[in-house]
Point group: C2
Chain length 246, copies 2
DNA sequence: CGCTTCATTGACGACGTTCAAGACATGTGG
DNA sequence: CCACATGTCTTGAACGTCGTCAATGAAGCG
Protein backbone atom coordinates (compact mmCIF):
# COMPACT_ATOMS: atom_id res chain seq x y z
CA UNK A 1 0.00 0.00 0.00
CA UNK A 2 2.95 2.28 0.43
CA UNK A 3 3.71 1.66 -3.23
CA UNK A 4 1.86 4.18 -5.33
CA UNK A 5 1.84 4.60 -9.03
CA UNK A 6 5.18 6.04 -10.04
CA UNK A 7 6.93 7.17 -13.18
CA UNK A 8 9.26 4.75 -14.89
CA UNK A 9 12.50 5.66 -16.59
CA UNK A 10 11.88 6.80 -20.12
CA UNK A 11 12.43 4.07 -22.71
CA UNK A 12 13.11 4.91 -26.35
CA UNK A 13 10.25 3.79 -28.58
CA UNK A 14 12.70 2.00 -30.83
CA UNK A 15 13.71 -0.26 -27.94
CA UNK A 16 10.20 -0.85 -26.67
CA UNK A 17 9.03 -4.45 -26.30
CA UNK A 18 5.61 -3.73 -27.78
CA UNK A 19 6.97 -1.58 -30.58
CA UNK A 20 5.66 -3.87 -33.33
CA UNK A 21 2.28 -4.75 -31.93
CA UNK A 22 0.89 -1.58 -30.32
CA UNK A 23 -0.75 1.49 -31.88
CA UNK A 24 2.69 2.70 -32.80
CA UNK A 25 3.45 -0.45 -34.80
CA UNK A 26 3.47 1.13 -38.24
CA UNK A 27 4.71 4.56 -37.21
CA UNK A 28 7.57 5.91 -39.30
CA UNK A 29 10.79 7.00 -37.53
CA UNK A 30 9.80 10.67 -37.44
CA UNK A 31 6.35 9.78 -36.17
CA UNK A 32 7.96 7.75 -33.40
CA UNK A 33 9.95 10.77 -32.39
CA UNK A 34 6.77 12.80 -32.17
CA UNK A 35 5.23 10.11 -29.97
CA UNK A 36 8.28 10.19 -27.70
CA UNK A 37 7.46 13.81 -27.03
CA UNK A 38 4.04 13.19 -25.62
CA UNK A 39 4.47 9.88 -23.84
CA UNK A 40 5.14 9.00 -20.23
CA UNK A 41 5.07 5.76 -18.27
CA UNK A 42 2.90 4.90 -15.31
CA UNK A 43 3.14 1.90 -13.01
CA UNK A 44 0.33 0.28 -11.09
CA UNK A 45 0.40 -2.47 -8.49
CA UNK A 46 -1.96 -5.45 -8.41
CA UNK A 47 -5.46 -4.35 -7.60
CA UNK A 48 -4.90 -0.66 -8.16
CA UNK A 49 -7.53 1.19 -10.14
CA UNK A 50 -6.35 2.87 -13.33
CA UNK A 51 -9.58 4.83 -13.81
CA UNK A 52 -13.18 4.51 -12.73
CA UNK A 53 -16.05 4.55 -15.19
CA UNK A 54 -17.24 8.10 -15.70
CA UNK A 55 -14.02 9.68 -14.51
CA UNK A 56 -12.49 12.30 -16.74
CA UNK A 57 -9.59 10.83 -18.67
CA UNK A 58 -7.03 13.07 -20.28
CA UNK A 59 -4.83 10.34 -21.70
CA UNK A 60 -4.84 7.24 -23.81
CA UNK A 61 -2.35 4.45 -23.30
CA UNK A 62 -0.81 1.14 -24.33
CA UNK A 63 -0.17 -1.71 -21.94
CA UNK A 64 3.57 -2.38 -21.87
CA UNK A 65 3.69 -5.21 -19.33
CA UNK A 66 1.07 -6.78 -17.10
CA UNK A 67 -2.66 -7.19 -17.40
CA UNK A 68 -5.55 -4.79 -16.83
CA UNK A 69 -9.27 -5.49 -16.78
CA UNK A 70 -12.24 -3.52 -18.07
CA UNK A 71 -15.31 -4.16 -15.95
CA UNK A 72 -18.88 -2.95 -15.76
CA UNK A 73 -20.82 -3.01 -12.53
CA UNK A 74 -24.58 -2.96 -12.05
CA UNK A 75 -26.33 -1.00 -9.34
CA UNK A 76 -26.71 -4.08 -7.13
CA UNK A 77 -23.10 -5.12 -7.48
CA UNK A 78 -23.21 -7.70 -10.24
CA UNK A 79 -20.01 -7.38 -12.24
CA UNK A 80 -19.06 -8.32 -15.78
CA UNK A 81 -15.57 -8.04 -17.14
CA UNK A 82 -15.86 -6.81 -20.71
CA UNK A 83 -12.23 -6.94 -21.72
CA UNK A 84 -8.73 -7.91 -20.68
CA UNK A 85 -5.89 -5.63 -21.70
CA UNK A 86 -2.68 -7.54 -22.35
CA UNK A 87 0.67 -6.12 -23.43
CA UNK A 88 0.32 -3.97 -26.58
CA UNK A 89 -3.43 -3.49 -26.09
CA UNK A 90 -4.79 0.03 -26.23
CA UNK A 91 -6.80 1.88 -23.61
CA UNK A 92 -8.96 4.92 -24.15
CA UNK A 93 -10.93 6.50 -26.88
CA UNK A 94 -9.81 9.48 -28.90
CA UNK A 95 -12.61 12.01 -28.93
CA UNK A 96 -14.07 11.07 -25.56
CA UNK A 97 -13.26 12.69 -22.27
CA UNK A 98 -14.50 10.08 -19.81
CA UNK A 99 -13.71 6.47 -19.13
CA UNK A 100 -16.49 4.09 -20.16
CA UNK A 101 -15.48 1.27 -17.80
CA UNK A 102 -13.65 0.61 -14.58
CA UNK A 103 -10.06 -0.20 -15.45
CA UNK A 104 -8.05 -2.12 -12.87
CA UNK A 105 -4.57 -3.58 -12.74
CA UNK A 106 -5.02 -7.32 -12.24
CA UNK A 107 -1.26 -7.81 -12.12
CA UNK A 108 1.53 -5.31 -11.69
CA UNK A 109 1.17 -3.09 -14.69
CA UNK A 110 3.19 -0.68 -16.78
CA UNK A 111 1.38 1.62 -19.17
CA UNK A 112 2.75 3.90 -21.86
CA UNK A 113 0.48 6.95 -21.74
CA UNK A 114 -0.05 9.72 -24.26
CA UNK A 115 -1.70 12.98 -23.39
CA UNK A 116 -5.01 12.94 -25.17
CA UNK A 117 -4.99 16.30 -26.93
CA UNK A 118 -1.65 15.86 -28.70
CA UNK A 119 -2.46 12.25 -29.46
CA UNK A 120 -5.68 13.28 -31.15
CA UNK A 121 -3.74 15.81 -33.15
CA UNK A 122 -1.36 13.07 -34.27
CA UNK A 123 -4.30 10.89 -35.26
CA UNK A 124 -5.27 13.53 -37.78
CA UNK A 125 -1.77 14.14 -39.05
CA UNK A 126 -0.38 10.62 -39.22
CA UNK A 127 -2.61 8.11 -40.98
CA UNK A 128 -0.34 5.26 -39.86
CA UNK A 129 -1.48 5.58 -36.29
CA UNK A 130 -5.13 6.06 -37.15
CA UNK A 131 -5.11 3.01 -39.39
CA UNK A 132 -3.37 0.87 -36.83
CA UNK A 133 -5.91 1.92 -34.23
CA UNK A 134 -8.75 1.06 -36.58
CA UNK A 135 -7.28 -2.38 -37.15
CA UNK A 136 -6.81 -2.98 -33.45
CA UNK A 137 -10.33 -1.81 -32.72
CA UNK A 138 -11.76 -4.15 -35.34
CA UNK A 139 -9.82 -7.00 -33.73
CA UNK A 140 -11.24 -6.07 -30.35
CA UNK A 141 -14.72 -5.99 -31.82
CA UNK A 142 -14.26 -9.50 -33.16
CA UNK A 143 -12.99 -10.64 -29.78
CA UNK A 144 -15.96 -9.01 -28.05
CA UNK A 145 -18.34 -10.82 -30.38
CA UNK A 146 -16.64 -14.15 -29.81
CA UNK A 147 -17.11 -13.45 -26.12
CA UNK A 148 -20.79 -12.73 -26.68
CA UNK A 149 -21.18 -16.26 -28.02
CA UNK A 150 -19.41 -17.58 -24.96
CA UNK A 151 -21.51 -15.55 -22.52
CA UNK A 152 -24.82 -16.17 -24.23
CA UNK A 153 -24.65 -19.78 -25.26
CA UNK A 154 -21.86 -21.81 -23.69
CA UNK A 155 -22.18 -23.96 -20.56
CA UNK A 156 -19.92 -23.38 -17.59
CA UNK A 157 -17.53 -26.16 -18.57
CA UNK A 158 -17.24 -24.82 -22.10
CA UNK A 159 -16.64 -21.30 -20.83
CA UNK A 160 -13.70 -22.40 -18.72
CA UNK A 161 -12.26 -24.55 -21.49
CA UNK A 162 -12.61 -21.68 -23.98
CA UNK A 163 -10.89 -19.27 -21.66
CA UNK A 164 -7.94 -21.55 -21.04
CA UNK A 165 -7.64 -22.44 -24.73
CA UNK A 166 -7.61 -18.77 -25.69
CA UNK A 167 -4.91 -18.02 -23.15
CA UNK A 168 -2.87 -20.94 -24.46
CA UNK A 169 -3.26 -19.90 -28.08
CA UNK A 170 -2.32 -16.34 -27.32
CA UNK A 171 0.73 -17.46 -25.40
CA UNK A 172 1.69 -19.77 -28.24
CA UNK A 173 1.41 -16.94 -30.74
CA UNK A 174 3.62 -14.67 -28.64
CA UNK A 175 6.27 -17.31 -28.13
CA UNK A 176 6.75 -17.84 -31.84
CA UNK A 177 4.39 -20.71 -32.38
CA UNK A 178 6.19 -23.41 -30.45
CA UNK A 179 3.32 -25.08 -28.70
CA UNK A 180 3.13 -23.64 -25.21
CA UNK A 181 1.06 -25.91 -23.08
CA UNK A 182 1.99 -24.36 -19.77
CA UNK A 183 0.16 -21.18 -18.97
CA UNK A 184 -0.20 -18.98 -15.96
CA UNK A 185 -3.71 -17.71 -15.48
CA UNK A 186 -3.39 -14.04 -14.58
CA UNK A 187 -6.76 -13.98 -12.82
CA UNK A 188 -8.14 -15.16 -9.50
CA UNK A 189 -11.18 -17.44 -9.49
CA UNK A 190 -13.40 -14.48 -8.77
CA UNK A 191 -11.95 -12.49 -11.67
CA UNK A 192 -12.41 -15.48 -13.95
CA UNK A 193 -16.03 -15.63 -12.79
CA UNK A 194 -16.51 -11.95 -13.60
CA UNK A 195 -15.01 -12.52 -17.02
CA UNK A 196 -17.01 -15.64 -17.84
CA UNK A 197 -20.37 -14.63 -16.43
CA UNK A 198 -20.29 -17.24 -13.65
CA UNK A 199 -19.81 -17.40 -9.90
CA UNK A 200 -16.45 -18.21 -8.41
CA UNK A 201 -17.84 -21.47 -7.00
CA UNK A 202 -18.87 -22.65 -10.44
CA UNK A 203 -15.46 -21.73 -11.81
CA UNK A 204 -13.81 -23.74 -9.08
CA UNK A 205 -16.06 -26.75 -9.61
CA UNK A 206 -15.52 -26.81 -13.37
CA UNK A 207 -11.78 -26.42 -12.97
CA UNK A 208 -11.69 -29.53 -10.80
CA UNK A 209 -13.98 -31.28 -13.28
CA UNK A 210 -11.58 -30.53 -16.14
CA UNK A 211 -8.74 -31.72 -13.90
CA UNK A 212 -10.61 -34.94 -13.08
CA UNK A 213 -11.14 -35.57 -16.81
CA UNK A 214 -7.45 -35.13 -17.54
CA UNK A 215 -7.92 -32.10 -19.78
CA UNK A 216 -5.80 -29.89 -17.56
CA UNK A 217 -3.23 -30.37 -14.83
CA UNK A 218 -2.91 -27.58 -12.31
CA UNK A 219 0.28 -26.59 -10.56
CA UNK A 220 -0.29 -24.21 -7.70
CA UNK A 221 -3.20 -21.82 -7.82
CA UNK A 222 -2.31 -20.17 -11.11
CA UNK A 223 -0.40 -22.69 -13.20
CA UNK A 224 -2.19 -24.83 -15.78
CA UNK A 225 -0.67 -27.51 -17.99
CA UNK A 226 -2.61 -28.54 -21.07
CA UNK A 227 -1.63 -32.00 -22.28
CA UNK A 228 -3.87 -31.87 -25.37
CA UNK A 229 -4.96 -28.46 -26.64
CA UNK A 230 -7.17 -29.96 -29.34
CA UNK A 231 -9.07 -31.92 -26.72
CA UNK A 232 -9.52 -28.77 -24.68
CA UNK A 233 -10.86 -26.90 -27.70
CA UNK A 234 -13.24 -29.77 -28.24
CA UNK A 235 -14.47 -29.31 -24.68
CA UNK A 236 -14.82 -25.60 -25.42
CA UNK A 237 -17.44 -26.38 -28.04
CA UNK A 238 -15.47 -24.68 -30.80
CA UNK A 239 -15.35 -26.05 -34.30
CA UNK A 240 -12.37 -28.36 -34.38
CA UNK A 241 -10.55 -26.45 -37.12
CA UNK A 242 -9.44 -23.27 -35.37
CA UNK A 243 -11.45 -20.50 -36.97
CA UNK A 244 -8.68 -18.35 -38.37
CA UNK A 245 -9.37 -15.29 -40.47
CA UNK A 246 -6.68 -13.24 -42.10
CA UNK B 1 -39.16 -16.97 -53.17
CA UNK B 2 -39.49 -15.80 -56.72
CA UNK B 3 -38.05 -12.51 -55.54
CA UNK B 4 -34.31 -12.60 -55.72
CA UNK B 5 -31.89 -9.91 -54.77
CA UNK B 6 -32.04 -7.24 -57.43
CA UNK B 7 -30.33 -3.98 -58.22
CA UNK B 8 -32.02 -0.78 -57.18
CA UNK B 9 -32.07 2.45 -59.12
CA UNK B 10 -28.99 4.49 -58.44
CA UNK B 11 -29.53 7.23 -55.85
CA UNK B 12 -27.23 10.23 -55.65
CA UNK B 13 -25.25 10.22 -52.40
CA UNK B 14 -26.32 13.78 -51.72
CA UNK B 15 -29.94 12.68 -51.62
CA UNK B 16 -29.33 9.55 -49.56
CA UNK B 17 -31.30 9.15 -46.33
CA UNK B 18 -28.29 7.89 -44.38
CA UNK B 19 -25.94 10.50 -45.82
CA UNK B 20 -25.18 12.06 -42.45
CA UNK B 21 -24.89 8.97 -40.29
CA UNK B 22 -23.07 6.35 -42.38
CA UNK B 23 -19.37 5.92 -43.19
CA UNK B 24 -19.75 8.64 -45.78
CA UNK B 25 -21.03 11.15 -43.20
CA UNK B 26 -18.01 13.44 -43.22
CA UNK B 27 -17.00 12.91 -46.83
CA UNK B 28 -16.32 16.08 -48.79
CA UNK B 29 -18.24 16.69 -52.06
CA UNK B 30 -15.42 15.36 -54.24
CA UNK B 31 -15.05 12.32 -52.00
CA UNK B 32 -18.75 11.65 -52.36
CA UNK B 33 -18.34 11.69 -56.11
CA UNK B 34 -15.59 9.12 -55.84
CA UNK B 35 -17.86 6.94 -53.70
CA UNK B 36 -20.63 7.23 -56.29
CA UNK B 37 -18.26 5.60 -58.73
CA UNK B 38 -17.79 2.43 -56.76
CA UNK B 39 -21.17 1.96 -55.15
CA UNK B 40 -24.15 -0.14 -56.11
CA UNK B 41 -27.36 -1.09 -54.32
CA UNK B 42 -28.56 -4.56 -53.43
CA UNK B 43 -31.96 -5.60 -52.12
CA UNK B 44 -32.72 -8.57 -49.93
CA UNK B 45 -36.05 -10.00 -48.80
CA UNK B 46 -36.85 -11.09 -45.25
CA UNK B 47 -34.87 -14.15 -44.33
CA UNK B 48 -32.44 -14.00 -47.20
CA UNK B 49 -28.78 -14.54 -46.40
CA UNK B 50 -26.43 -11.70 -47.26
CA UNK B 51 -23.29 -13.76 -46.69
CA UNK B 52 -22.33 -16.86 -44.74
CA UNK B 53 -19.48 -16.89 -42.26
CA UNK B 54 -16.30 -17.88 -44.03
CA UNK B 55 -17.55 -16.94 -47.47
CA UNK B 56 -15.31 -14.73 -49.56
CA UNK B 57 -16.58 -11.17 -49.48
CA UNK B 58 -15.47 -8.69 -52.07
CA UNK B 59 -17.51 -5.75 -50.85
CA UNK B 60 -18.29 -3.66 -47.82
CA UNK B 61 -21.64 -1.97 -47.36
CA UNK B 62 -23.93 0.35 -45.45
CA UNK B 63 -27.48 -0.54 -44.50
CA UNK B 64 -29.81 1.96 -46.20
CA UNK B 65 -33.17 0.61 -45.03
CA UNK B 66 -34.19 -2.48 -43.11
CA UNK B 67 -32.40 -4.60 -40.55
CA UNK B 68 -29.76 -7.30 -40.84
CA UNK B 69 -28.40 -9.65 -38.20
CA UNK B 70 -24.91 -10.94 -37.48
CA UNK B 71 -25.03 -14.40 -35.96
CA UNK B 72 -22.59 -17.06 -34.87
CA UNK B 73 -23.53 -20.71 -34.82
CA UNK B 74 -21.89 -23.51 -32.85
CA UNK B 75 -21.32 -26.98 -34.22
CA UNK B 76 -24.40 -28.35 -32.46
CA UNK B 77 -26.67 -25.58 -33.65
CA UNK B 78 -26.71 -23.19 -30.72
CA UNK B 79 -26.92 -19.69 -32.12
CA UNK B 80 -25.98 -16.28 -30.78
CA UNK B 81 -26.73 -13.04 -32.54
CA UNK B 82 -23.72 -10.78 -32.07
CA UNK B 83 -25.03 -7.66 -33.74
CA UNK B 84 -27.98 -5.99 -35.37
CA UNK B 85 -27.33 -3.77 -38.37
CA UNK B 86 -29.78 -0.88 -38.58
CA UNK B 87 -29.90 1.85 -41.21
CA UNK B 88 -26.52 3.61 -41.55
CA UNK B 89 -24.63 0.73 -39.90
CA UNK B 90 -21.60 -0.63 -41.68
CA UNK B 91 -20.93 -4.20 -42.78
CA UNK B 92 -17.59 -5.70 -43.60
CA UNK B 93 -13.99 -5.22 -42.71
CA UNK B 94 -11.44 -3.50 -44.89
CA UNK B 95 -8.40 -5.73 -45.13
CA UNK B 96 -10.24 -9.01 -44.71
CA UNK B 97 -11.48 -11.20 -47.51
CA UNK B 98 -13.99 -13.39 -45.70
CA UNK B 99 -17.11 -12.79 -43.71
CA UNK B 100 -16.69 -13.42 -39.99
CA UNK B 101 -20.37 -14.04 -39.27
CA UNK B 102 -23.55 -15.14 -40.93
CA UNK B 103 -25.35 -12.03 -42.12
CA UNK B 104 -29.09 -12.30 -42.72
CA UNK B 105 -31.83 -9.90 -43.68
CA UNK B 106 -34.32 -9.92 -40.81
CA UNK B 107 -36.56 -7.50 -42.66
CA UNK B 108 -36.57 -6.43 -46.27
CA UNK B 109 -33.23 -4.80 -46.72
CA UNK B 110 -31.45 -2.35 -48.97
CA UNK B 111 -27.69 -2.14 -48.82
CA UNK B 112 -25.34 0.37 -50.39
CA UNK B 113 -22.32 -1.70 -51.40
CA UNK B 114 -18.81 -0.63 -52.28
CA UNK B 115 -16.36 -2.91 -54.05
CA UNK B 116 -13.73 -3.71 -51.49
CA UNK B 117 -10.53 -2.95 -53.41
CA UNK B 118 -11.45 0.59 -54.43
CA UNK B 119 -12.97 1.24 -51.02
CA UNK B 120 -9.73 0.23 -49.35
CA UNK B 121 -7.89 2.55 -51.68
CA UNK B 122 -10.18 5.38 -50.64
CA UNK B 123 -9.59 4.58 -46.97
CA UNK B 124 -5.92 5.37 -47.52
CA UNK B 125 -6.53 8.50 -49.56
CA UNK B 126 -9.42 10.10 -47.72
CA UNK B 127 -8.93 10.39 -43.96
CA UNK B 128 -12.52 11.50 -43.52
CA UNK B 129 -13.82 8.06 -44.33
CA UNK B 130 -11.20 6.24 -42.28
CA UNK B 131 -11.91 8.43 -39.26
CA UNK B 132 -15.63 8.02 -39.56
CA UNK B 133 -15.20 4.26 -39.74
CA UNK B 134 -13.00 4.30 -36.65
CA UNK B 135 -15.62 6.26 -34.77
CA UNK B 136 -18.39 3.92 -35.84
CA UNK B 137 -16.30 0.88 -34.92
CA UNK B 138 -15.60 2.30 -31.47
CA UNK B 139 -19.33 2.84 -31.01
CA UNK B 140 -19.98 -0.74 -32.03
CA UNK B 141 -17.36 -1.92 -29.59
CA UNK B 142 -19.08 -0.04 -26.79
CA UNK B 143 -22.40 -1.54 -27.80
CA UNK B 144 -20.87 -5.02 -27.88
CA UNK B 145 -19.52 -4.54 -24.37
CA UNK B 146 -22.84 -3.30 -23.08
CA UNK B 147 -24.28 -6.46 -24.58
CA UNK B 148 -21.68 -8.57 -22.79
CA UNK B 149 -23.02 -7.25 -19.50
CA UNK B 150 -26.52 -8.15 -20.59
CA UNK B 151 -25.56 -11.66 -21.70
CA UNK B 152 -23.35 -12.44 -18.75
CA UNK B 153 -25.18 -10.96 -15.81
CA UNK B 154 -28.78 -10.00 -16.46
CA UNK B 155 -31.80 -12.17 -15.76
CA UNK B 156 -34.28 -13.01 -18.50
CA UNK B 157 -36.69 -10.27 -17.47
CA UNK B 158 -33.92 -7.68 -17.42
CA UNK B 159 -32.68 -8.79 -20.82
CA UNK B 160 -36.06 -8.27 -22.43
CA UNK B 161 -36.56 -4.92 -20.70
CA UNK B 162 -33.08 -3.78 -21.79
CA UNK B 163 -33.71 -4.78 -25.36
CA UNK B 164 -37.00 -2.94 -25.58
CA UNK B 165 -35.59 0.13 -23.84
CA UNK B 166 -32.68 0.26 -26.25
CA UNK B 167 -35.00 0.02 -29.23
CA UNK B 168 -37.14 2.79 -27.79
CA UNK B 169 -34.18 5.05 -27.10
CA UNK B 170 -32.78 4.53 -30.55
CA UNK B 171 -36.11 5.27 -32.12
CA UNK B 172 -36.47 8.39 -30.00
CA UNK B 173 -33.04 9.59 -31.09
CA UNK B 174 -33.86 9.10 -34.77
CA UNK B 175 -37.20 10.88 -34.50
CA UNK B 176 -35.61 14.01 -33.15
CA UNK B 177 -36.02 13.38 -29.45
CA UNK B 178 -39.78 13.56 -29.15
CA UNK B 179 -40.45 10.68 -26.85
CA UNK B 180 -41.41 7.71 -28.97
CA UNK B 181 -43.10 5.15 -26.82
CA UNK B 182 -44.45 3.05 -29.63
CA UNK B 183 -41.94 0.74 -31.22
CA UNK B 184 -42.07 -2.09 -33.67
CA UNK B 185 -39.81 -4.94 -32.75
CA UNK B 186 -38.10 -6.01 -35.96
CA UNK B 187 -37.43 -9.53 -34.68
CA UNK B 188 -39.43 -12.69 -34.13
CA UNK B 189 -39.42 -14.30 -30.69
CA UNK B 190 -36.81 -16.77 -31.85
CA UNK B 191 -34.56 -14.00 -33.18
CA UNK B 192 -34.96 -12.11 -29.92
CA UNK B 193 -33.94 -15.29 -28.12
CA UNK B 194 -30.84 -15.62 -30.29
CA UNK B 195 -29.98 -12.01 -29.58
CA UNK B 196 -30.55 -12.19 -25.83
CA UNK B 197 -29.04 -15.57 -25.11
CA UNK B 198 -32.39 -17.14 -24.17
CA UNK B 199 -34.89 -19.59 -25.60
CA UNK B 200 -37.94 -18.40 -27.46
CA UNK B 201 -40.18 -19.79 -24.73
CA UNK B 202 -38.46 -17.73 -22.07
CA UNK B 203 -38.74 -14.64 -24.26
CA UNK B 204 -42.45 -15.24 -24.65
CA UNK B 205 -42.97 -15.82 -20.93
CA UNK B 206 -41.11 -12.68 -19.91
CA UNK B 207 -42.95 -10.60 -22.50
CA UNK B 208 -46.26 -11.63 -20.98
CA UNK B 209 -44.83 -11.00 -17.51
CA UNK B 210 -43.88 -7.45 -18.47
CA UNK B 211 -47.32 -7.06 -19.98
CA UNK B 212 -48.96 -8.36 -16.80
CA UNK B 213 -46.96 -5.85 -14.75
CA UNK B 214 -48.07 -2.98 -16.96
CA UNK B 215 -44.59 -2.13 -18.17
CA UNK B 216 -45.49 -2.74 -21.79
CA UNK B 217 -48.65 -3.00 -23.85
CA UNK B 218 -48.44 -5.13 -26.96
CA UNK B 219 -50.37 -4.52 -30.16
CA UNK B 220 -50.20 -7.40 -32.57
CA UNK B 221 -47.12 -9.59 -32.65
CA UNK B 222 -44.61 -6.83 -33.24
CA UNK B 223 -45.98 -3.63 -31.76
CA UNK B 224 -45.01 -2.55 -28.25
CA UNK B 225 -46.21 0.53 -26.39
CA UNK B 226 -44.14 1.71 -23.44
CA UNK B 227 -46.18 3.81 -21.03
CA UNK B 228 -43.20 4.61 -18.78
CA UNK B 229 -39.73 4.30 -20.24
CA UNK B 230 -38.05 5.09 -16.95
CA UNK B 231 -39.89 2.24 -15.28
CA UNK B 232 -38.80 -0.10 -18.06
CA UNK B 233 -35.17 0.97 -17.65
CA UNK B 234 -35.55 0.29 -13.96
CA UNK B 235 -36.71 -3.23 -14.79
CA UNK B 236 -33.70 -3.51 -17.11
CA UNK B 237 -31.41 -3.17 -14.11
CA UNK B 238 -29.68 -0.11 -15.57
CA UNK B 239 -28.64 2.79 -13.43
CA UNK B 240 -31.55 5.22 -13.45
CA UNK B 241 -29.61 8.11 -14.94
CA UNK B 242 -29.16 7.07 -18.55
CA UNK B 243 -25.45 6.45 -18.93
CA UNK B 244 -24.60 8.87 -21.69
CA UNK B 245 -21.04 9.44 -22.83
CA UNK B 246 -20.08 12.04 -25.38
C1' DC C 1 -60.88 -24.56 -45.05
C1' DG C 2 -56.59 -26.76 -44.17
C1' DC C 3 -51.82 -25.60 -44.03
C1' DT C 4 -47.95 -23.14 -42.34
C1' DT C 5 -45.72 -20.05 -39.35
C1' DC C 6 -45.31 -17.81 -35.12
C1' DA C 7 -46.62 -17.13 -30.25
C1' DT C 8 -48.32 -18.73 -25.80
C1' DT C 9 -48.71 -21.74 -21.87
C1' DG C 10 -47.81 -25.80 -18.83
C1' DA C 11 -45.07 -29.52 -16.50
C1' DC C 12 -40.75 -31.10 -15.40
C1' DG C 13 -35.83 -31.28 -14.87
C1' DA C 14 -31.01 -29.65 -15.31
C1' DC C 15 -27.65 -26.41 -14.59
C1' DG C 16 -25.81 -22.91 -12.08
C1' DT C 17 -26.45 -19.89 -7.97
C1' DT C 18 -26.72 -19.22 -3.09
C1' DC C 19 -25.46 -20.10 1.44
C1' DA C 20 -22.41 -22.36 4.40
C1' DA C 21 -18.50 -24.85 6.03
C1' DG C 22 -13.96 -26.33 5.60
C1' DA C 23 -9.13 -26.69 3.42
C1' DC C 24 -4.91 -24.60 2.25
C1' DA C 25 -1.29 -21.21 1.93
C1' DT C 26 0.87 -17.11 3.54
C1' DG C 27 2.02 -13.63 6.76
C1' DT C 28 2.18 -11.45 11.57
C1' DG C 29 3.00 -11.23 16.32
C1' DG C 30 3.75 -13.31 20.72
C1' DC D 1 7.88 -22.23 16.77
C1' DC D 2 3.21 -21.94 17.41
C1' DA D 3 -1.17 -19.41 17.47
C1' DC D 4 -3.89 -16.71 14.86
C1' DA D 5 -5.63 -13.94 11.17
C1' DT D 6 -6.36 -13.32 6.30
C1' DG D 7 -7.16 -14.32 1.60
C1' DT D 8 -8.00 -17.69 -1.83
C1' DC D 9 -9.78 -21.91 -3.23
C1' DT D 10 -12.61 -26.15 -2.68
C1' DT D 11 -16.63 -28.79 -1.56
C1' DG D 12 -21.43 -29.78 -0.08
C1' DA D 13 -26.58 -29.15 0.10
C1' DA D 14 -30.77 -26.65 -1.04
C1' DC D 15 -32.90 -23.70 -4.04
C1' DG D 16 -34.38 -21.12 -8.24
C1' DT D 17 -34.11 -19.69 -12.90
C1' DC D 18 -34.27 -21.00 -17.19
C1' DG D 19 -34.22 -24.80 -20.73
C1' DT D 20 -36.61 -28.83 -22.67
C1' DC D 21 -40.48 -31.16 -24.33
C1' DA D 22 -45.15 -30.96 -25.53
C1' DA D 23 -49.70 -29.20 -26.43
C1' DT D 24 -52.56 -25.38 -27.65
C1' DG D 25 -53.76 -20.96 -29.74
C1' DA D 26 -53.71 -17.19 -33.14
C1' DA D 27 -52.84 -15.16 -37.65
C1' DG D 28 -51.92 -15.21 -42.64
C1' DC D 29 -52.40 -17.45 -47.15
C1' DG D 30 -53.29 -20.51 -50.94
Amino acid sequence: MAVQQKLSPHVKCGDCQIRHRAVCAHAAPDELLALEEIKYYRNFCVGQPVVWAGDPMDFVASVVTGVASLTQTMADGRRQMVGLLLPSDFLGRPGRGQAAYDVTAVTDLVMCCFRKKPFEAMMVKTPHIAHRLLDMTLDELDAAREWMLLLGRKRAREKIASFLAILARRETALQGMRATTNIEVPLTREEMADYLGLTLETVSRQMTALKRDGLIITTGKRGVHIPDLAALQEAAGDDSDGEMLS
